[in-house]
């Protein structure tokens, strides 16, 4: 009699289908992930219990870092292009065609208008050095560069909306560091109120709501 060997079972699973699904999902998430231009400054936002999410598109952001420097960022390269073309001729900023395109595709900036040309020529790592913040004039709103940027960005977005290039109006967002001294925030808020933007949003991190029971999930 031959020795009876127990047959070793080899459970094999076909991984091909799983692999297909995994890569399909991977492709989907990679394509939907938006590449965001790097923020020029680190802003550590405070937390709140608010559950409203920041909208995906159409945000007009004022950032205030912990030294009180003000940065400005607007979404949408069409609107940025339109705005910088307008400013370039109006204030003779001396930007070339390539420079305006570069501006349209970059992120937040915090330099006076006269420095934009220099700022664009710099590599990302060095921009922080000349970023002194966008000048705010609290006494005369017509002289305040920040008010100018916001007002004209909203107008440009409105023009783009009429041309059908964008769908939404700008949502005004203020993103400030939790250690920013209040006077710096106050200047920004006063500027907004001065140009009749009375409704805006503050960016925060999420935090648990103490009114909600823990078993209800956060």
């Amino acid at each position: 009699m031959p020795k009876h060997k127990p047959k070793r079972s080899h459970p094999t699973i076909d991984m091909t289908a799983m692999c297909d699904v995994a890569f399909l999902l991977l492709t989907f998430f990679m394509l939907t992930a938006k590449m965001k231009p790097q923020d020029t400054v680190v802003v550590d936002t405070p937390s709140s219990i608010s559950e409203t999410k920041l909208p995906d598109a159409g945000t007009l952001t004022i950032m205030v870092d912990k030294d009180g420097r003000t940065f400005f960022d607007m979404a949408g390269s069409h609107t940025r292009q339109s705005l910088i073309n307008d400013f370039n001729t109006r204030f003779s900023m001396g930007l070339t065609q390539e420079e305006t395109v570069k501006f349209a595709n970059s992120g937040s900036f915090g330099v006076p208008r006269s420095q934009i040309k220099k700022w664009l020529a710099m590599p990302n790592a060095e921009r922080d050095k000349i970023s002194t913040g966008i000048p705010i004039d609290t006494a005369d709103v017509n002289k305040s560069e920040l008010a100018d940027w916001i007002h004209n960005a909203r107008l440009a977005q409105f023009r783009m909306k009429n041309e059908g290039k964008v769908k939404e109006d700008y949502v005004m967002v203020v993103k400030a560091d939790k250690d920013t001294p209040y006077p710096a925030i106050q200047k920004v808020i006063n500027t907004l109120v001065d140009i009749n933007v009375n409704k805006f949003n503050l960016i925060t991190n999420s935090e648990g709501d103490p009114n909600k029971k823990p078993e209800g999930g956060k």
């Binding site: 080899h10 699973i13 991977l26 992930a33 209040y182 009749n196 949003n201 009114n211």
Partner: protein
């Protein structure tokens, strides 16, 4: 585990067969990598989205006739000070300055106490609120008015914390205003008392 058949039965004599190589590839590590990347992209796209908190500021130009007086006993003023301290006082006549912090036992208690006080004195009032379908509902509630005045020593976190407390304690009417000289002096020297003149305030707001 996927199959790993490399060894065929050893050459035991007989006919020489062409060795059949398995065409199967173990896909497990590839699937692992795939899911790792999926997790990464999912977390970076959905979790990175920050929250926003809506804030409405009062309009710049207020007309005198639009000003609606508020009962003094319903008003609570918070002065946000340095080192995460909140100074607060009720009403304006014979106001007494007290201070607290932003913890659950601090500012929240102050707000809830004041709310109970207002409820006890004035009872419930009718108000209408739009529900989720956009239909106005008749509800009853008790309201106090909270005035948030961040002083120049305070930091941004304090403002957000104070606003957050408003939504946690469900305060319906609150506003952020600039702190006045009188109040700065009041914080420095609470014993001297607060000498607010309502007419001066109205004058200052409508100029």
């Amino acid at each position: 585990m996927a199959e790993m058949q490399v060894k065929e039965s050893g050459g035991g004599g007989g006919k020489k067969r062409a060795k059949k190589m398995s065409t199967r590839v173990d896909l497990t590590p590839m699937v692992d990598l795939g899911f790792l990347l999926i997790t990464f992209f999912m977390l970076t796209t959905t979790l990175a989205k920050p929250q926003i908190m809506a804030l409405v500021m009062p309009e710049k130009d207020i007309k005198k006739e639009d000003i609606e007086p508020v009962k003094e006993s319903k008003v609570l003023t918070l002065l946000l000070g340095d080192n995460d301290k909140v100074y607060w006082y009720e009403g304006i006549t014979d106001a007494k300055l007290d201070s607290t912090d932003y913890s659950a036992e601090g500012l929240r208690k102050v707000l809830l106490n004041k709310m109970d006080k207002v409820k006890g004195q004035w009872g419930l009032e009718d108000y209408t609120k739009k529900n989720k379908e956009g239909v106005e509902e008749e509800l009853k509630g008790s309201f106090m008015n909270v005035i948030i005045k961040p002083m120049k020593e305070s930091r941004y976190k304090n403002v957000v914390d104070a606003l957050d407390e408003m939504s946690i304690s469900k305060v319906r009417y609150y506003v952020i205003l600039d702190v006045s000289k009188l109040e700065e002096d009041f914080v420095k020297n609470p014993a001297a008392g607060l000498k607010f003149n309502v007419d001066d305030q109205v004058e200052a707001a409508t100029k």
